[in-house]
Symmetry: C2
Subunit: 284 residues, 2 copies
């Protein structure tokens, strides 16, 4: 496998769709949603976490592909008119705009299903990996519920706590699961899994705060999705609640916390270290 694993990921994603003899309308939309670019952050984190934990990245490919399928399904459903109502994603029409709302609903459902099927193809810790993927998916959906006006529990009252909960669930759960699945695929020891778990938790929150900052500071053209949208729609964002400066300080703090979790791991964690820097400094 190549150091970046990008080709292996794309090949795994294509195979997840092509090996299943889907209904033509579902297959066409699944290709559009899943193979139309994207950073592939979650599968890269899975494969590099597996490497950092001393495993063989090939063993983590099913988990990596499964998590990207979940990510793609969540984007398709979140973009629907009844939810975030977005027309643009990765510089292209969203699935419901390119096809139809009914196709978007059905292909999202199908991608969620395919994700679980692929997770069950994991050669090691099969059930634990599938459970990890599914629990993260359920938490992500909870996060989207809170983020689209769903009531909070009575004890979650202040705005920053609510936003941190939303970020931990909606974005963080899948990124944390990506790192945990890498460790599970490597059959890592408990302590290593716990470190990669905390690493993923920090990276997940950092990633979303960077996203919030970019939404406030970048143009639509640069982002490839509608910029300023969170502000315009009155959504909670990190800079909206604590300000831009405090948001940037939190990004720096989380990047440091993530790096610290890798201290006991040698050069096999270098790709994860570089990824943290890249994600903290990214501009789209």
């Amino acid at each position: 496998m190549e150091p970046s694993f990008l080709e292996n990921i794309e090949e795994g994603l294509r195979a997840a769709i092509e090996s299943r003899d889907l209904a033509p309308a579902i297959e066409e939309a699944a290709r559009y949603a899943l193979l139309g670019g994207g950073k592939r952050l979650r599968p890269i984190l899975t494969l590099q976490s597996c490497v950092a934990a001393g495993g063989s990245p090939a063993d983590a490919i099913p988990a990596a592909v499964a998590l990207e399928c979940i990510h793609a399904f969540s984007l398709v459903h979140d973009d629907l008119p009844a939810l975030d109502d977005d027309d643009l994603r990765r510089g292209r029409a969203t699935v419901h705009r390119a096809f139809s709302e009914s196709v978007a609903i059905l292909v999202g459902d199908s991608l969620q299903c395919i994700a679980a099927e692929v997770a069950l193809e994991s050669p090691r810790n099969t059930n634990l990996i599938a459970k990890e993927v599914l629990e993260a998916t359920r938490l992500m959906i909870d996060g989207q519920s809170y983020d689209t006006g769903g009531v909070f529990r009575a004890d979650v009252t202040d705005e920053e706590t609510r936003l941190r909960l939303i970020h931990r669930l909606k974005t963080g759960a899948l990124i944390r699961a990506a790192c945990r699945c890498g460790a599970l695929a490597a059959e890592a020891e408990e302590e290593v899994t716990a470190r990669l778990d905390r690493f993923g938790t920090a990276v997940g929150l950092m990633f979303q705060i960077v996203d919030d900052v970019l939404d406030e500071t970048q143009t639509t053209e640069h982002l490839g999705k509608t910029g300023g949208k969170d502000q315009a729609s009155g959504k909670r964002t990190f800079p909206g609640i604590v300000g831009l400066e405090a948001s940037r300080a939190e990004i720096t703090r989380l990047a440091g916390a993530a790096r610290n979790e890798l201290n006991s791991i040698g050069s096999e964690a270098d790709p994860l270290r570089e990824l943290v820097e890249f994600l903290a400094l990214r501009t789209n």
Copy 2:
């Protein structure tokens, strides 16, 4: 366990939701969608297939609950305005009417996820059962794609073949999986599993043809869902293509075919035999 298993099923469904600490808006809608009645046909078939295959029904409870969660999720999404646009289900407002479209989309996603999680709690043949549930889910979604205007493959041209394909996928896949999962939970021999597979295939098609006939011949009040809807919306139905008399003859033929598959099984298959009669003669 009671012979009818209905209490065990309801308890399993409640536990599937209550053990998961869902976001409040998701939990409320999940209760509404999952615990608001229904024939519980799929879980009953799972448990009785397990009994017919010589197993202990307790071992089939996770599969039974998982399949009912999938069924509930499919109803919630299929009722959405972008799909079948239904206001009434089991005599009550559909989820998107009682709550909102966004809640309906998210709770459907969550129920699909919970189904796979519960399937993975199966004590025997865990992975095979989870794969069975997931494959049937994916086929069911393919069926809904065809049923809502999705293109067919080039070799599926005539109307009856198309309708049989839709019925086999949209309704049949889950009912067949219910019977197969019962056999898997019983760790049945290959031949028994194959018999229950063919039994489920016949019952699934019969069930949907009965549904088509009822849609044409019964009132909305009697059905608890909008009657005459398939006709009004121009959907393919069995009586619409082959006529009422031929539909009734096909129901009789399929009931006989289903019964025949049970010939080598003794009185432990009596509940399945009674179920076939009940389903062939049901009026709502």
